[in-house]
Structure formats: structure tokens, C-alpha cells
Subunit: 484 residues, 2 copies
């Protein structure tokens, strides 16, 4: 690694660092407004912004020209840095140790939404909005990464794969056009947030809760300001359905949203969106029916909570309206299916994602065709576009990696004497950036009881899931470090 | 479907039927020797052999010339027929219903070894040897299917895939050469059985137990004559190590064994055998160590039982020496890893199998290489032979199918209110043809408590796993029935 690479990485990290600390002014101002004791946080902001500014000043003549390897290394380090940048104010504002703070911070930035706090409702408002802000910042980054816009930084993003023949790294310059697209994506992201916020406010939330939940919804994060999560408003159907719809929108490819601005609805007609909607409807109706039959709740209540829960899980948001883990194991089975699917590529959602299942099922069909007619050349088409053979291998390897990671984290927890349901669902909930699982990590529980080591392993799981495995795995490849 | 196809299928089924009923003379003679009440069984044999003989006589001028579709359909029907052919004598000899009998019979023929009997030690000897005979017959069939010898019948067997460029159906005639290879495979199978039998007898088993356990070992079946399984001989280290070694041999590709007869050891030097042995050693030492540390047992006892248990599970035999589910969740985690791996292709072992993991890991490595050097054409080599791209897709689709099947059966059981560990391990144990799982289906438990429907679903799971998914799935393809 030469001096230029090191300078690239340091400047990149400092830019992200100052960006995050500027966004942290939102909780800082909130703390001042509510007159909370945030002296430590103010000092941290001053020191942090100063330090990053000094670094940027020293490197002001260095122009970032990232080699792909620099970019991959940077993105890996960024997540550790984000974890620490978020952990410090959490430790300054509440009485928790570093492991808890790091877990909470990573959970925030990766938009996982698993928490180590026992009593959320009583947390200082500064902490609450700080957590939501982490989600919101994380979501902004993920949008850009997962749409494959910065394929230089995330060469293995799903959309990068599907948008061009080459599946590898191309050293793209961030052209004015790309900058423009990024700004449009963020525009839509901010627009959706403001729309959600206004609706929630009109429908009865106070402004503080509306801001927090809008941040946590559009980023598919899932942190709430209440112990009951959205269950605090369980009788306000407007709030529940608004949140359901905004979760569903946030789980859709954001490129489809920016096309709408030009009146082009084609993005919503893709096979992925079609299946995503089908899956939400089928699983929601299934869960609603099971809940309706086995309880005294009204049909509308059952359907509202069914659609809310499945949308929350499938989009990997992780909000809850009621303790759905009490709906019985048949309903839980359907919810677990949703956990295993995930949202759309190009959104803030985590998990395996619908498009990869489409590829796998189409490959399966092609394989069966090949058995019957061995000499026919089969190919897979998605949205009438032929998918190159290597993409299938890439998707298989992705799913294999996902399952390996989930299996190993599950077995690690199981070996530490947690029950099977807790172990497996905690692993899926973290690696899939969902948040709540079942057993001891159900929708009304939290992750505080895990040991420090277990919290670190689960934090790494969240990061690996968020990086979609390859970017992380590359660090363990000999080729990566050869002639860096 | 034309008359010729129907005649092909009926004649094929009748040949298998008479073959099975001839082997059933082993339990019949045993029953006569031990003077057990087997009148019903004798009538069944007489009627069954007569019926199949009449059909074969009527079709004596019809020469089987199987179209591939006939073959695929036949193999699917054969498993249902085997289930029934085995279920009838079980119902005649013990007081169980059809669902129990069908489950037990399928478990026997697929060499799964899961049982619905509560008290095995007290079963009539006729039943015990009947169960072992089912294993042994099943193993003979599986050897021929899984070595890809009859690729006409099992076009998707792993070895078929790897032995030629074409991955589809080739309408091979059963040439004298193929017949010769089949006879050699069976020769090795019988030789291994006799060797094991003699050793077990010398080491202290009575002849009856030695025959039964030799049948159940070489077929990687796992039915025992004792409630304690091999634990009945837990202090006889000779018997335990003999069984361990014969289980390991039975999990190796049988083509490698027949090469030995010509003094050619190359079969044992393949990457698959190498990894298979590594995995057995690593996992066994891990389990032994955990057991040794957490108990008062001697190191040699711990190692003996560690190697026995991992060999039993990895080869999908399913014998037990002690209740290894009491070794703690860390040991169980390692055993679950063994359950998820399986033996070698071309053996009687079930599961995903080592070779498929090799393909997946090599594909993963190739994908990472491709990210770093997108314009380099990567290819996967196993045993220095290039693997065609389509094989990778085929293996991915297989693993995807395996996991879909296991996930759905697990969630089906979980939705019926079994705990997560029981649900998941029962699904893996049946689909992987292993036998015992954990929770309520642990090594000292049985499958009797499942409902009739659940037993049918689990039986189908065993068949699908045994058919390696594709042969079964083809029945649901429209192309399959088009112009049958
Ligand atoms: K989430
Ligand atoms: K078995």
C-alpha cells in the first residue's frame, strides 16, 4: 500500500466523518431545545468536527482518485468508524459500556434496529433522535451503495450486477451525471421522509415522534421512541397504514422512485416489484387469517396488523404494533419466511432480496429444462433481459455466503446455550438487518442479555450483511493484498 | 403416454417387486428358524411373488426399452411401491397402522433409519431382520443409482454430472460393460457386508446382531436391533471402531472401492475423499474434546465416541453409542454441521455431500477473483479436471432445492407447534436420510409421536432427498408431461 492509497483512505474517511458529525447536529440541537444534559455530546461534536476538519485541511491538495482496492478497504473501515463515531455519544449520554454502545451504533447505521436498551420510552430525547439519525444517515449511504451508483465502492451491489455485462470492478469516475443521479436519489429519500413526517404529524403523532419514525421508516431501520414501538399508536389505523405504505415504498428500488419524477412508471412494473407485492399480500393475508381465527380481534384489526407486520419484516424495518410472537407458531412460520426473503435491490432493505430468489427459481427451471432437453441452450431472462451465466454463479455464491454466515452465527449462539429459535432468529435478524427475531429476541425483547463477545459477533454480522458479504470477504483474499 | 411406456413401467416395477420379495426370504427364513408367528408374512410372500410372476409372464415378450421419461416416472413410482411392499409385512407382523408402517418402510428402503417403534429390543426377530434387509436392498439400489451407472434412470446423480460434459439424459443402453460394472459394485457391497459381519461376530456380537448391523452399516441405514443402538456394546471398543471404520468406508464413492480390486488407489486420493476424511477428523476431535472436558469419561472413551458419532452422522448412518444430545449445545453444534454436510457422491450416504461444498467454495473463490480481475476468465477445477459452468448452476440449484425442502418441512413442523430444534433437526434428518435428530427426535427417541399427515410429509422428504430432488421435481414440470 503506497502513500497515495493511505491518503485516499484517510481523506475519504474524514469526509464521511465530518458528514456524520454534521448530521449529529440534529440530536445536538434537539438536546438544546429540550434542555437535556448534553455537555459531553457538545464537546464530542466540537472535538470531532475540528479533528476531521484539520485532517481535511492538511489533505486539501490531495485529490481522491480511488483505486478499487482503496475503495473496498475504505468501505470496510468506514463501518468500524461509524460504529465508534456513534458509540461515543451513546456512552457520553447514557450509562452503557463500549460493547453495548458499539452494537447500538452499528445497529443504527446498518439500519438493523436491534437495541440493547431495556426502556426506550424513558431515554433522553437526544438519544432517541441520535439513534434515528444514525438510521437516516445509514439509509442515505446504503441507497447510494445499493443502487450500484458508486460501483467503485460497492462493486458487488445487486444492481451493479444487473446493470452491465461486466460483473467486476470498473474504476468509474464520479462524473457530473453520477453526482446528479446521487442527488436525485437523496432528493427522493428526503422527499419520502418529509411526506411521511407530515402525514404522521397530521394523523396524531407529536412532531418529535413523527421525525423519529419518519427517519426510522424510510431507512427501514426500525428504532422507535416507544417501548411498544408503533404499538403505542395501535388504535390509530391512519398511522399504522401510513407506516405500512411508507415501509413498502422504502423497500422498493429507489431508481424506480426517481423515474416517477419523470412520469415513468416502468420501475414499478419490474418482475422484482411484482413478486415483492405478491409476497407481501400473500404472507400478510396468511398471517392475518391465522391471527383472526385464533383471537377475538376484529377482521380489520387482524388485517391491519398482518399487513403491518409482514411489511415491516419483509422490508427488514422491524417495527411492531403488537407482540406478534404470541400469534402462534403457524403465524411465526410465515413471518420467518418473510425474514428469509428481504426487500428489493436498490433500496435500504437488507436480507437476501427478492431478485436473487427470482434468479434462483429461474435457474432451477432452466436446469430442469436442461435435463429434459440436454442439447438445448437455456438462458435466463429477467424483465426480458438475458442474464449472463456468471450472474447466476454470483447470486448462488451470495446465497451460499448468506447461509454460511447465518448458520455459523446461529450455531455460535446455540453453542453458548441459547435455545434454537433465539439463536437462529437473532442471526437472521442481524445478518438480514431486520432487528427483532423470536424467542428471547422477540419484538418486545432486546439484545442486552448477550455477552460482550456475542454483541461484537452480532455487530459484525450486521456489517457483513450490509456489505453484502463480498466487500467484506475480499479482505480475506490473498489476491486483494497482493500488489495493493 | 402410450401402451409401450405403460408396459415398460409395469415390467420394470414388477422386476423390482419380485427382486425385493426374493430378498424378503431372508426375514422369512429367520422367522421360521426362530419359530415366530409369521403365517401372515408367508401368505404375503406367496401372493406377492405369484402376482409379480404372473405380470412378468404376461409381459415376457415385451422388451424394456426405456425412454428417459419412462425411467424417471418409474423411479418415482418405485419408491411408493417399495414403501407399500415393506409396509404390508410390518402391519402383518406388528400392530401398527398404515402410516406408521409406510414411514418405517420408506425409512428402511431410503436407508434413513428413523423409526416409529418405541421398543426395538423386544420386536420379533423377523421384524428386526426385515428392517435391516430393507436397508440393505435400498443400499444396493442407491449404489447403482448414485454412481450414475444407470444414468438413464437417475440422470441427475452427482457422478453422472461429473463424468461427462453432457449433464442431461442420455438414453444409454444397459450394455454388457455397464452390467459388469454393476455386478462389481454389488460385489464390493456384498464383500464389505460380509467382512463387517465376520468382524462383528468375532468381536462378540451374536450372528443375528452381526448380520443386522452389517446390513445397516454398509447401507448407511442405521436401524439397530437394540434400543441402545450400538450403545449396547459401548464397552466393546473393537465393535465400536470396526463399525466406525465400516461406516466411513460406506460413505466413500464405491467406484473408488472397485478400483482397489485392480490395485488402483487413485479413487481414495480425490479431493472429495480428502476433505471427507479431514472433516471427520476435525469434527470428531472437536466433539471428543468438548465431551472429554465436560465429563468424567476417559480420553479414549471420549475419542471413541466422538469419532463414532461424527462418522455416524457425516455418513448419514445414524447409529448411536451414547445419548450424544446430552454432550451440551457446543457438541450438538458440531454434530449439526456434520448433518448438513453428508457423505460422498457415489455412496449410499445422503445429504448435500462433500463434493457439492467443494464446488460451492471453489465457485466462491472464483467469484472473488472475478471481482478483482473482471476480465480474467475463471474456471473451476476439481481433481485437475475443469468443471463446466453449467455444473455449478446445477449444484447451486440442488443446494437451493435441498434448503427449500428442509426449510418448508421445518416450518411445517414448527407451525404444528413442535419446538424449533425438533422441527429443524427432524427435517434435516429425514431429507438427508440420516435418521436421528435432536430435541424430541434425538438419538434415544423415535418418530412415533408425529401425526399421520406429518409422517407422510416426512416420508416424502426422505424420498425426495434420496432421489436428489430433480428426479422428483421433474414430475411437476409441464415439459415432462408434454408429448410423454
Ligand atoms: K431494520
Ligand atoms: K441413515
Amino acid at each position: 500500500m503506497d502513500r497515495k492509497s493511505i491518503k485516499n483512505i484517510i481523506k475519504f474517511l474524514s469526509l464521511i466523518g465530518i458528514f456524520v458529525n454534521i448530521f449529529f447536529l440534529i440530536p445536538l440541537i434537539t438536546g438544546i431545545i429540550y434542555e437535556e444534559n448534553i455537555k459531553g455530546f457538545i464537546y464530542y461534536e466540537l472535538i470531532s468536527i475540528s479533528l476531521f476538519s484539520i485532517i481535511l485541511f492538511l489533505l486539501k491538495n490531495h485529490k481522491i482518485k480511488m483505486h478499487s482496492k482503496d475503495a473496498i478497504l475504505s468501505v470496510n473501515i468506514v463501518w468500524i468508524m461509524l460504529g465508534i463515531l456513534g458509540a461515543i455519544p451513546l456512552m457520553l449520554l447514557t450509562n452503557i459500556n463500549f460493547y453495548d454502545a458499539f452494537f447500538e451504533s452499528i445497529s443504527g447505521f446498518t439500519t438493523t434496529g436491534a437495541t440493547i436498551y431495556n426502556n426506550i420510552s424513558d431515554l433522553p430525547k437526544t438519544i432517541l433522535i441520535l439513534r434515528s439519525t444514525m438510521h437516516w444517515i445509514g439509509g442515505m449511504g446504503i441507497i447510494v451503495l445499493s443502487t450500484g451508483l458508486l460501483s467503485i465502492i460497492n462493486p458487488t451491489g445487486t444492481l451493479t450486477l444487473f446493470k452491465s455485462e461486466s460483473t467486476g470492478i470498473t474504476i468509474e469516475k464520479i462524473t457530473p451525471k453520477l453526482k446528479h443521479t446521487a442527488l436525485k436519489l437523496w432528493g427522493v429519500y428526503i422527499l419520502l421522509t418529509i411526506l411521511d413526517l407530515i402525514l404522521l404529524k397530521i394523523e396524531g403523532m407529536n412532531l418529535f415522534d413523527a421525525i423519529n419514525h419518519a427517519f426510522a421508516t424510510i431507512s427501514t431501520g426500525g428504532f422507535s421512541t416507544k417501548n411498544e414501538s408503533l404499538g403505542y399508536w395501535v388504535n390509530n389505523y391512519y398511522i399504522l397504514w401510513t407506516t405500512t405504505i411508507f415501509m413498502i415504498l422504502s423497500g422498493i428500488n429507489f431508481i424506480a422512485h426517481i423515474k416517477i419524477l419523470k412520469g415513468d412508471f416502468s420501475g414499478y412494473k419490474s418482475e422484482e416489484v411484482k413478486w415483492y407485492i405478491y409476497l407481501i399480500i400473500i404472507l400478510s393475508l396468511g398471517v392475518s387469517l391465522i391471527h383472526f381465527i385464533s383471537s377475538n380481534d376484529s377482521l380489520f384489526f387482524a388485517i391491519t396488523n398482518g399487513f403491518f407486520t409482514i411489511s415491516s419484516i419483509l422490508t427488514t424495518t422491524g417495527f411492531a404494533t403488537v407482540d406478534y410472537s404470541t400469534w402462534g407458531q403457524a403465524a411465526i412460520s410465515l413471518i420467518i419466511i418473510a425474514m428469509l426473503i428481504g426487500g428489493n435491490a436498490g433500496s435500504t432493505a437488507g436480507g437476501i432480496k427478492v431478485i436473487r430468489y427470482i434468479v434462483m427459481f429461474k435457474n432451477l427451471k432452466a436446469q430442469i429444462k436442461k435435463i429434459l432437453s440436454p442439447y438445448v441452450i437455456t438462458s435466463i431472462k429477467i424483465d426480458n433481459k438475458k442474464i449472463p451465466e456468471n450472474i447466476i454463479n454470483n447470486v448462488s455464491a451470495f446465497i451460499f455466503l448468506y447461509l454460511l454466515t447465518v448458520t455459523f452465527i446461529s450455531l455460535y449462539l446455540f453453542a453458548n446455550n441459547y435455545d434454537a429459535l433465539t439463536s437462529i432468529s437473532a442471526a437472521i435478524a442481524c445478518v438480514g438487518n431486520i432487528g427483532p427475531g423470536f424467542g428471547h429476541v422477540g419484538p418486545v425483547d432486546n439484545f442486552s442479555f448477550f455477552s460482550n463477545t456475542q454483541k461484537i459477533i452480532l455487530s459484525i454480522g450486521m456489517i457483513i450483511g450490509r456489505l453484502e458479504f463480498y466487500t467484506f470477504l475480499l479482505l480475506f483474499s490473498r489476491d486483494f493484498w497482493k500488489k495493493f
